[in-house]
Symmetry: C2
Subunit: 138 residues, 2 copies
Amino acid sequence: MGQISTRFSMAVHTLSLIAFSPNECTGDFIAGSVNTNPVVIRRMMGMLKKAGLVDVRPGVGGASLLKDPSEITLLDVYRAVNVTEENQLFRIHENPNIACPVGRNIEQVLQAELRDAQSAMEQRLAQTTLDQLIHKFQ
Amino acid sequence: MGQISTRFSMAVHTLSLIAFSPNECTGDFIAGSVNTNPVVIRRMMGMLKKAGLVDVRPGVGGASLLKDPSEITLLDVYRAVNVTEENQLFRIHENPNIACPVGRNIEQVLQAELRDAQSAMEQRLAQTTLDQLIHKFQ
DNA sequence: CACCGTTGTAACCATTATAGTTATAACCAT
DNA sequence: ATGGTTATAACTATAATGGTTACAACGGTG
């Protein structure tokens, strides 16, 4: 099927929490709201940290956003936690038969189409900011 | 990672082949062009058949398109071979803590966003027809 | 009718990603 | 030093993928 993992939705949840209550967001607290294991949260937070979205305080505990919520888009989060080779959403079968006119060209032709389709999705993700989201949690 | 499987690109390859040379497209021939096992092709062809895109002839061998190539879009192919529950590209973590304002609303808020993002991708896939593709294989 | 290439499936396997879990080391304010 | 926290390794169960072998069913041809 190749669905996009819940790590993405958990990351959005987590960043919303941090923006919402910046003082109490330990891994255990977040895990309690997301309803998963704290290690799952910490692993995902490591990706957000590597992407420069959050700062996590070892020892003392807690995390804070490194950007204003209006500057963090869903695409930023998606790219942070959804690391695939070459950032490709679609995979293409490898080594088709180059003796066949279809096999010879399929990769290049499809790649252009799929890049555009992925791009359309990402542009939509880029239009929504964390700030817009948290306003819907009243 | 949750990338979309190569079954999709193999299906596009297969349909292009059938449109290209409608007379010699047995499972083995297609498998030779895609460079995979014939059973993988037959499994995927079963999905295309179920979706009403192709007709396969048991015994005699070969397959043919049930629609004009100008009437088959990449979205049709994507939907045929990429069957996920509820046709959802994105998964969302389940049972968040409803005692938390974020946990209580995250699913509904995210679902709307992700549905739109998925829709943007699908609309781009719907813009490309098989006919357009095979013209690029000259 | 018998043959033979083909399709349709079931069954099995190796690989990979995910999500959860336990355990342990490192961190740091008190 | 203590205690709560983060960081990370290691292990597990589950699931999807892609490949493979095997075999039954199909259907034209000799």
